[in-house]
Amino acid sequence: MSTALNEKSAGYQPLIVAFCCNWCSYAGGDLAGTSRMSYPANVRVIRVPCCGRMNPMFVLRAFQRGADGVLVAGCHPGDCHYSTGNYHGRRRLSAFKRLVEFAGFEPDRFEVRWISSSEGDKFAEEMEQMTAKIKALGPNRKMRDARWQSVT
């Protein structure tokens, strides 16, 4: 824990929560695995059926609980397994992303990406990039609940 907060020290390992839609991005993650690509272990994936299922409150909760970055990944527009989930997701998450940036979050802390089930390489690359960006930003101090540290 303490090392995690040791800002920008060599040992700083950020925690990145990635919410991936079951049909495209989670499968893209599987493909990255099957293809033995490698990306930083800082990323932890939570499977959701669709990025239309992504309640912005899940994102805020991750930040409260000490996540340093949050990524939501879904199917490319037009490819949603449920036809329209990512179209709705795009509007919802765009509005939300701008709102949290307005509240003072760094734009890189919260990202949304379209990753298809065939883009294992893109999956790995996005995870790599996200980790690098968060490492550069340092730990999330803005939304992290000060008490969480004492109970973990």
Binding site: D145, R147, S150, V151, T152
Partner: protein, 337 residues
């Protein structure tokens, strides 16, 4: 012991007092005045009327963590969270101090005493400050509050002609003045003379608590509540409201327990586990709040639980305040009715 200090020297006093205690002062925070721990550079507003929220926060913090739990296997460990640092509550107006004395009865005179409150009360030195210019919503007069004197203060302070005069009335008060002895000189005045005019809104509260005993079902309640939005503004700004809730933070293995303010104006306040709610609508909740102030509290402590600070009159977004309630319930002078 009577001392004084030039008003433009007060910053030195704050520095001194903040060394050994947490010093609460009325501070300008954005467009609002609030009692907050003093920090270097804080804009202290001693004469503002009135702080948006009463200084009850100092004794009954809006949030207070008091234990830490840790589970492993079958064992549960609990550890109390304690803070022994002394507190100085500076610039408390007589009305607010009277309200704190009302809370004292609730938290300390009942068995068992509320140890968290008691501890805070005991470690706090209260420096009361007499009023200079009350605003149109101040109506403390009808509750026998003397705006120039707060009997329960450890130190009574007055701002007169560029000087703050400080009179220690208790041992704690003396200790505080001695602490800052080198900054103070002997006071040059003996008694403070100042005319303070507050309104009474035409209220006559004599006999009201007794009268209300039988008026739980009074038709007045059917109208009074209507404009209420069911928010908690009145209870949170009120110096005599003291309800709190207890909640845990953490997860299954580790966490802490804290208490925090709650409000009887919220629907969830009386929501029971099975889903039943004895105060399901705004009417019951509005009635509860005013009955508590005007009847239930007086029935136990012989005093209406209002000090006329005017905060609910200033803050209620729809102007549903205790004055309106008292009027609706007939607590008005005959000539005003």
């Amino acid at each position: 012991m009577k001392k004084m200090i030039a008003a433009d020297e007060l910053a030195k006093l704050w520095i001194r007092l903040a060394e050994k205690s947490t010093l609460f002062l009325p501070v300008q925070d954005g467009p609002t005045v609030l009692y907050q721990p003093w920090k270097d550079g804080a804009q202290v507003e001693l004469e503002a009327f009135n702080s948006a929220i009463s200084p009850k926060d100092i004794f009954l913090p809006r949030e207070e963590t008091y234990l830490h739990y840790h589970c492993s296997g079958q064992s549960l460990e609990l550890a109390a969270v304690e803070d022994d640092r002394a507190v100085t509550a500076f610039g408390i107006h007589p009305c607010d101090l009277k309200a704190i004395e009302m809370l004292d009865r609730v938290f300390m005179e009942q068995e068992p005493a509320d140890s968290l409150y008691q501890k805070r009360r005991e470690k706090t030195t209260v420096v009361a400050l007499s009023c200079t210019k009350p605003d149109p919503f101040c109506f403390c007069g009808i509750f026998d509050v003397d705006p120039l004197d707060a009997p329960g203060a450890d130190v009574m302070a007055h701002l007169v002609d560029g000087y703050m005069h400080l009179e220690a009335r208790t041992e704690k008060g003396k200790a505080l003045l001695e602490e800052a002895g080198d900054l103070l000189e002997n006071s040059t005045i003996d008694k403070i003379e100042r005319e303070i005019k507050t309104t009474d809104f035409g209220l006559d509260i004599k006999g009201l608590p007794e009268d209300l005993k039988s008026r739980f079902d009074d038709p007045a309640w059917d109208e009074l509540y209507k404009s209420c939005l069911s928010c908690g503004v009145c209870t949170y700004v009120c110096p005599t409201c003291y309800c709190f809730d207890v909640e845990d933070y953490g997860h299954d293995a580790e966490g802490e327990r804290f208490r925090c303010w709650d409000s009887c104006m919220f629907g969830h306040f009386t929501q029971m586990a099975g889903g039943h709610n004895p105060r399901p609508s705004r009417k019951e909740r509005v009635r509860q709040r005013f009955m508590h102030k005007l009847q239930y509290y007086p029935e136990v402590y012989n005093e209406i639980a209002c000090v006329g600070c005017g905060r609910c009159l200033r803050s209620c977004p729809v102007n549903l305040d205790i004055v309106q309630a008292i009027k609706a319930l007939g607590g008005e002078k005959v000539e005003h009715r």
